[in-house]
Amino acid sequence: MARIKHIAIATQDPDATAKFYVEGLGLEIAGKVNSVAAEGYYLTDGYINLAVLKFKNDDAANTEGKARHTGLHHFGFMVEEMDQAQEQILGAGATKKESAITDANGHARTGNVEVKFTGPDGITVDLSETGWAGASKD
């Protein structure tokens, strides 16, 4: 079964936002992000990755039909087999989301190869075989 392993929060002040989740909830910093799409932090509670992202452009910030540069943004599932998972989610009505954030090389470098989909109400759902920084593999 797919496992929810990623939540992304958009913010204009990734340092302050990361500090809040580290100090207020005890999350740990698993890495810094600086990709074509966003900069910020990967945090974790040991199981799930919480990404705190300052998006670099409207394309990357786009979700639910418009650019969202602050606030809860999207979430993601770790899957065992991408082809099968992709077929299943598309079969349930998702559409594949093409955006600058789908930077396969960049993602391969950071160890997070994700494929983005749009589900009901425009919600962005990531699928990844590799998972996200700091999240456990179970």
Partner: protein, 134 residues
């Protein structure tokens, strides 16, 4: 450490949205929800509770400073001790958010206390956890 155990999605069509996450991602339905604030479904991947909520009015639908009746809405953490967790999150700058229907939460097994964090993001804390979450 707090553990993220809950993600809530707002929708106007909980049946269709729940069906999408069941058919498309293999989540399982662990309960139906019909509270004073929302109706919908609790789903799980065996670890996290994914709540699919049709909010019944503006107060519970509010997050990040505005109404959000559709879209990714908030998330929550299971914590060991509410007094300690509350002091910690408030010390980090969160603002407690009074929430309607708190008195009904015990009956459904999810006693949550809500906070607004940076950018108004709503973060729930719960000692009891959420349906279907490990």
């Amino acid at each position: 450490m707090a553990r993220i155990k809950h993600i809530a999605l707002a929708t106007q069509d909980p049946e269709a949205t729940a069906k999408f996450y069941i058919d498309g991602l293999g989540l399982k339905e662990v309960g139906k929800l019909n509270s004073p604030t929302a109706e919908g479904y609790y789903l799980t991947d065996g670890y996290i509770n994914l709540a699919i909520l049709k909010f019944k009015y503006d107060d519970p639908a509010t997050t990040e400073g505005q109404l959000r009746y559709t879209g990714i809405h908030h998330f929550g953490c299971k914590i060991e001790d509410m007094d300690e967790a509350r002091a910690k999150i408030e010390g980090a700058g969160a603002v407690h958010r009074p929430y309607p229907g708190t008195e009904h939460m015990e009956a459904r097994g999810n006693v949550e206390v809500k906070f607004s964090g940076p950018d108004g993001v709503t973060v729930d804390l719960s000692e009891s956890g959420w349906a279907g979450a490990s």
